[in-house]
Amino acid sequence: MSLRFVEGFKFTKLDSPIHKMDPRSKFVLTTGLFITALMFTNVFALITILVLQIPLILISRTSRRWLRSMKAGVFLGAFIFAINAISGTSLILAIAFSLRFFAIMSAFSFFFMTTSPDDLGLSLDQIHVPYSISFTFTTAVRLVPTMAIDAQTVVDAQRSRGLELDKGSLMKRIRNYIPILIPLIISAIRRSVELAEALESRAFGATEHRTAIVTLKLHFVDYLTIMGTILGVALATYVYFRVPLPTLNIPIKLPRIF
C-alpha cells in the first residue's frame, strides 16, 4: 500500500480560478456535496454527484492526483461493497454505498488539494475559532510532508541495518515496525520542542487580540459558489422527497452470512 494516495489530499500552489477562491466558499461547496451524497442511496443520483465534480477537478488542474486518490480509494470502496454484500444488503444498494464513499472522498480531496492550510487557518480565525485551534491545525498540515520525509529516512536507516520489512510471519512483521515507530515518535517530539521554543521566542500567545496582516475577502465568484451550493442542496432535497428516480433492479440474491 503506497502512500501516493496522500498526494490526492495535499495542497499545492497552482494558478487556477479554484485555487484563488476563498476557502470558506470552497468549504460550503464541499459540505453541499457531502450533504447531498449522504442524502441519496439512489445509484443514478450518486453518480451525478460524482460526475458534477469532474469539471471542478479539471478547472483546478488537479486531475492527475485526483485520479490517484480515486485509484487508492478503490480498495476501501471495494471493502465497503463487500461488507454490505455480506450482510445481506441488496447488490444495488451495496454499489450505492461504495459510490457514496467515492463521492465524499472526491469532494474532500478536491477541497484539500485546492485550499492552502494557511488560508484555511485564516478563515477559521475570521469566523472566530480560537487561534490555538486553527494554528494547531495549520501546523499539523504543514508538518505532514516533513514527517513523511522523516518516516522515509527512518525506514531507510533501519533497512540499512538489515531490517527486512517484507519478510516473516505476520507477528514478526508487526514487531518489525517498532524500530520505525519509535524513532519517528521521538523525532516528532524533538521537533515539537524546537517548534515550541521558537514559538515562545516569537511571543506566541502574548495577547488575546492577535492582528493579521492578511485578511480574506469574499469575491463575486465566492458569493456565486455559495449561492449555487445552497440552491443545489435545496434542489437535491426537493428531488429526494418529490421526484421518483429511476432505479436499477438486479435480481441477484446475495447469500446472507450474518
Binding site: K13, S116, P117, D118, T138, T139, R142, P145, T146, R191, E194, L195, A196, E197, A198, L199, E200, S201, R202, A203, F204, G205, A206, T207, H209, R210, T211, A212, I213, V214
Partner: protein, 280 residues
C-alpha cells in the same frame, strides 16, 4: 547600562546532578558583536536560554543569580514579554518557520504581539529588505534554500525590533557559501542598526572577522574573554576550540622561531604579517 548584565548566574537542569552553568558574571555593552563558543556541553546554550526566559519558563531547574537584559530584570518576565527586547534565531531553519508564505512568516511575531496591521506591514517590508529577501515575499518556506530560510528567520526576529539578537549556531545546516553570506547579513544588521549581537558558533574561521569580542566557555564557566586576537591563543586551542586555521598555523610558526607578534583572524592579516617576515 549594559545591554546584558549577568551576576553569578548558575543553573542546574531538573534531574541533573551538577550545574550546566556556574557563577557566570559578565556584561555586554550595547552594539557589541560577541561570539560565544566552547566545546559541546560547555553551557553556552544554557546561558542563551536564560537570556530570553526559556530558562526557567520552558526548561525547569534551579536558577540562581541575577540577569538583566535590555535593562530589564528577567526573573519575573515571560519569554513572550522578553521577545520585545531580545530575539532568538535557532539552529534548524525548518523548525522556526510557521507560515506558508515568507511574508506571513516574517509577520508572525508582530501578529502575536498585536501590532496594528499598517505598522506590521511596514515593519515586515523593512525586515525583508534588510535581510535581502524582498523578492521571496510570496514564496513558501519549503521552496527556499537553507540560507534563504535562515534569512527569513532572522527577518522574522528583526521585525520585532529587539535591541539584542541571539543566534544559536545558525550556520550548522548551511553549506560554506551560504554560511558566509548569512554571517555577513548578521554583521551588517549589527553595524547598521546597532543591535547587540550574540552569536554562538563553532565555525570561528567564518565569523571571527566581524566580532569585537569572543567569550569562551568550558565546563560551565567562562574561561576566556577578550578580542579575537587576544583570545585565540594556545590556551584556547588546548581547551579544544576550533581556531581559524591561519591562527593555528601562526602558533606553530611562532614555536619554530618566526617573529610573529599578533594572532591573525583573517587570511589577509596572516598574509600581511607573513610577507613582512619573509621579505625583510
Amino acid at each position: 547600562m549594559p545591554a546584558i548584565s549577568a551576576r553569578k548566574l548558575t543553573f542546574t537542569y531538573a534531574g541533573a546532578g551538577t550545574p550546566s552553568m556556574e557563577n557566570i558574571s559578565l556584561s555586554i555593552e550595547k552594539g557589541e558583536f560577541v561570539i560565544l563558543t566552547g566545546p559541546s556541553g560547555c553551557g553556552k546554550t544554557t546561558f542563551c536560554r536564560c537570556l530570553n526566559g526559556l530558562i526557567p519558563n520552558f526548561y525547569s531547574g534551579e536558577l540562581h543569580g541575577d540577569l538583566f537584559v535590555d535593562e530589564e530584570n528577567v526573573s519575573d518576565k515571560s519569554t513572550a514579554e522578553l521577545s520585545k527586547h531580545i530575539g532568538f534565531v535557532f539552529q534548524n531553519p525548518e523548525n522556526q518557520l510557521f507560515s506558508l508564505t515568507v511574508e506571513r512568516d516574517v509577520a508572525f511575531g508582530l501578529e502575536n504581539l498585536g501590532v496594528p496591521k499598517e505598522e506590521a506591514v511596514t515593519r515586515v517590508s523593512w525586515a525583508m529588505q534588510s535581510t535581502g529577501i524582498e523578492d521571496l515575499r510570496n514564496k513558501a518556506p519549503y521552496e527556499l534554500s537553507g540560507g534563504q530560510q535562515q534569512r527569513a528567520a532572522i527577518a522574522g526576529v528583526l521585525a520585532m525590533k529587539p535591541n539584542i539578537i541571539v543566534l544559536d549556531e545558525p550556520t550548522s545546516f548551511l553549506d560554506p557559501k551560504s554560511a558566509e553570506e548569512i554571517v555577513g547579513v548578521i554583521a551588517r544588521l549589527n553595524r547598521e542598526y546597532k543591535i547587540t549581537t550574540i552569536l554562538v558558533e563553532h565555525r570561528l574561521d567564518i565569523v571571527s572577522r566581524y566580532a569585537n569580542r569572543v567569550i569562551i566557555m568550558d565546563k560551565g564557566n567562562v574561561v576566556l574573554d577578550g578580542s579575537p586576537p587576544q583570545v585565540y591563543d594556545e590556551q584556547a586551542r588546548l581547551i579544544g576550540i576550533g581556531l581559524p586555521k591561519v591562527t593555528t598555523l601562526f602558533h606553530m610558526l611562532r614555536r619554530d622561531g618566526f617573529p610573529l607578534t599578533t594572532n591573525p583572524i583573517t587570511v589577509e592579516q596572516a598574509s600581511e604579517q607573513l610577507s613582512r617576515v619573509l621579505q625583510r
